[in-house]
Amino acid sequence: MLTIHHLTKRYSNGTEALRDVSLELGEGVLGLLGPNGAGKTTLLSILATVTRPTSGTFSWQGIDVLREPQSLRRSLGYLPQDFGIYERLTAREFLLYLGRLKGLAGADLDRRVGELLELVNLHHAANRRLGGFSGGMRQRVGIAQALLGDPRLLIVDEPTVGLDPEERVRFRNLLAEAAQGRLIILSTHIVSDVEAIAGQIAILRAGRIVALRTPEELLRSAVGRVFELVTAPEHLAELQRRVAVSNLARRADGVHLRFVAGSRSTLDPAFAAAREVEPTLEDAYLLTELETRSAGASS
């Protein structure tokens, strides 16, 4: 469905936000992970036809999007990371406006807006001005507008920012359900969001795709490389300097230090008492980051 060929984006100040990114994506959810500044938002905004790449191409259903952006826009639902709203409009008016720009009209449009307001749980606030909405409510308006036109490609950049835990779970379930017959690209820092719904995970670092795997493959790659050590608080600072810590918890018996490493054999003797634990996707992501960084340092 979506084929990306050697996309590169260089800004006028010389920053290379994307470097030669190529991907071939079909139906399902692609989770996009990466540190701040990795190029996730740039990639998504290019795919949403809002930004042009410096070089490279991408096609949707076989049509070159850079030549014919409308071909993709007709199928697109896009929720940017930072988006503004027109504060004087009510939630319903704002959705009606964007619906018209999608080419919806009449009863179809009215019905769809009503359904979406219900879906994102904003029906009670439909006629309130957006200027008075909280961050979470604005985010839900953003989610609703992304679903306005039955999108076959849904691009969502940090969609759960500002949502409370209940709304986050609701939205995650919604995406999982929507993945049927659609391509969803989900960029987030919340690894558990990706873990729950993504069929594939792409890890982006310094503008490059450094890993493209299923969650199971990522988890398998971390088996035997995640450890936990219970230590006294006074040793903590010293130990933290030597390993990549994925979690810390202060308990009655000391500090539980969870960390990732190449393998047990490469561990410092100070960690001899560490026990191997079941990896999570967050551990696996950290390990990939660690490997990419050390590969970068050695090259």
């Binding site: 409308q70 826009r73 409009l89 018209r100 019905r111 359904e115 749980n121 008075g132 919604l174």
Partner: protein, 536 residues
């Protein structure tokens, strides 16, 4: 960490404000517009227009030669017009922007008090307005170098401008702050209110306080004259030849070229200087009121009306939360999308109306009133209609940029590749619709206005969209529109873009404005393409 001292926090805020303002491309545009406007607004000595003129007892009209003393007065007249018409609009909205862009919440969490914050804004506004208004001084000097007579005298040339600038900048800045922090006034309705109430307050009120009759001579310096309007007339009046009267100041176009005479403005007496120092105090009142009213960006102190209507950002809990895990995406009925240019123009035209301030409700009554009044009353009634358009359309060309809604809007399938042309079409449709009563009046009375009104409003649509798109804000359009409006209403046929303000309608200006509209649009489209290329 030690607590920051008031002085250092205040200086930091002033520095940030001034840097932010000077680095804005809109400031560069304002500088250029003021320079060019000042050059154009000081008339040459051989034409029909003058900045100062008077009538002798025998009916002859006289105006001064371009001496340095006269140019000093002409510059100060120009500065007063700037402070009266444009200055407020150039600085209003800065606290509102901090509020909308979230900077306010960061400042609210800092040790900076509201007096220091507003004080810093006041100083930054004053500095900016003083800088802009004083640009007229080198332009005056240039006129002297080009066609001045006599020797150049520094003090007579500079003193009128120096006496005008500080009290005027302080008062207008303080009023802008007061409007900015007052709920109801900080919206676009406040901008219109300033035009309708603030300007008469600054011009007509001091005049009534200084004369026995409105067209009589100035008899005393009024207690309230922050812009120095009456002060200037007082000085000019003291310098007239014996028997002269009927002083006109501004950009006055005479039926025939006035006789040019050697003239020197009287030296500023100490009473005038003392009066200007006193005028500075008028800025204190609105500033203190602003400090009292300012909520320091505390959302809990929003207006009662906003709270009642549930608009408080603090009230966010939904009334009922459906059970977790239940989603109804599959139950959405399928929809048919037919994206096309017509749909996009219709959406934008509707948005213009829906997102406009409450003044929009006056537009149609104003157009209807102007359409049914006798011909003699049409210019004034139409001027109200034209004025009401400004807050509705001034920011359309950069709406997405200002609201940060670009990614949502520009990724929609109906939006055409040229946003400028799309916006122009929408604004044009909107203007042609709301002005229909005026066009129909022209049709039924067989007047040229049946053509000039739509043509003039197409110019307005092009200029509004292009100026906002090029400058990233609505002030360039608002300022230039108001200037044209003012000149048109004062009988300058060449400035009457709509054919509604001047007593007679001619084709020359129509052609000029149509070409100007097309040129603005072309520039905005070129800029749009350039931005697109550089983003690639």
């Amino acid at each position: 960490m030690t607590a920051p001292r008031f002085g250092s926090a205040w200086r930091a805020q002033v520095g940030a404000e001034i840097k932010n303002r000077l680095r804005s491309p809109a400031s560069l545009v304002a500088f250029l517009v003021i320079l060019l406007g000042s050059y154009w607004a000081i008339p040459p000595a051989n034409g029909r227009a003058s900045s100062v003129s008077w009538r002798l007892a025998d009916g002859r009209m006289q105006a001064p030669e371009l001496s340095s003393s006269y140019l000093g007065i002409a510059v100060s007249v120009l500065m007063i017009i700037f402070f009266l018409l444009a200055a407020f609009y150039l600085v209003a909205g800065s606290v509102k922007r901090d509020r909308e862009r979230g900077v306010g919440l960061l400042l609210a969490a800092s040790p900076l008090g509201k007096t220091a914050y507003l004080g810093a804004k006041l100083v930054a506004h004053m500095a900016f307005l003083a800088l802009l208004s004083l640009l007229a001084v080198p332009v005056g000097a240039f006129h002297f170098l080009r066609s001045g007579v006599g020797s150049f005298e520094w003090w007579p040339f500079l003193s009128p401008a120096l006496l005008v600038v500080l009290p005027a900048a302080a008062f207008v800045s303080a009023m802008a702050l007061l409007f900015d922090v007052t709920p109801g006034l900080r919206s676009k309705g406040g901008l219109v209110l300033w035009f309708l109430v603030g300007m008469p307050l600054l011009s007509a009120f001091p005049a009534t306080q200084s004369r026995e009759t409105m067209d009589g001579p100035v008899q005393r310096l009024p207690a309230f004259d922050p812009l120095g309007l009456v002060m200037n007339q007082y000085v000019i009046q003291s310098s007239l030849p014996p028997g002269a009267g009927g002083v006109s100041t501004g950009y006055v176009i005479h039926k025939e070229a006035p006789e040019r005479v050697s003239w020197r403005a009287a030296a500023m007496p100490p009473a005038v200087v003392a009066s200007r120092v006193f005028q500075l105090l008028w800025a204190v009142l609105p500033f203190l009121a602003a400090v009292l009213i300012f909520d320091r960006f505390d959302p809990a102190r929003r207006s009662g009306r906003a709270r009642k209507s549930g608009e408080s950002t603090l009230q966010t809990a939904p009334e009922s939360v459906p059970p977790l895990g239940v989603s109804s995406l599959v139950s959405l009925a399928p929809v048919q999308m037919r994206p096309n240019l017509g749909a996009a123009i219709w959406a934008e035209t509707r948005l213009l109306w829906e997102s406009a301030h409450a003044v929009k409700w006056l537009l149609l009554p104003a157009a209807l009133t102007a359409a049914f009044l006798p011909a003699a009353a049409v210019p004034f009634a139409s001027s109200v209609f034209l004025l009401l358009l400004v807050p509705v359309i001034s920011e359309v060309g950069c709406r997405e940029e200002l609201a940060g809604a670009g990614p949502l809007v520009f990724s929609q399938p109906a939006v055409p590749s040229s946003v400028v042309l799309w916006k122009f079409a929408a604004v044009a449709c909107f203007l042609l619709a709301v002005s229909l009563p005026l066009t129909l009046r022209g049709v039924f009375t067989g007047s040229l206005q049946a053509l000039t009104v739509p043509l003039g409003l197409l110019f307005v649509a092009a200029f509004a969209v292009a100026a906002a798109s090029l400058s990233g804000g609505g002030k360039l359009f608002s300022g230039a529109f108001l200037l044209l409006w003012y000149l048109g209403l004062n009988g300058l046929a060449g400035a009457d873009f709509s054919g509604l303000l001047a007593p007679t309608v001619t084709w020359g200006p129509r052609l000029g404005f149509t070409l100007a509209g097309a040129a603005w649009l072309a520039a905005a489209i070129a800029w749009e393409k350039r931005r697109f290329r550089s983003a690639s």
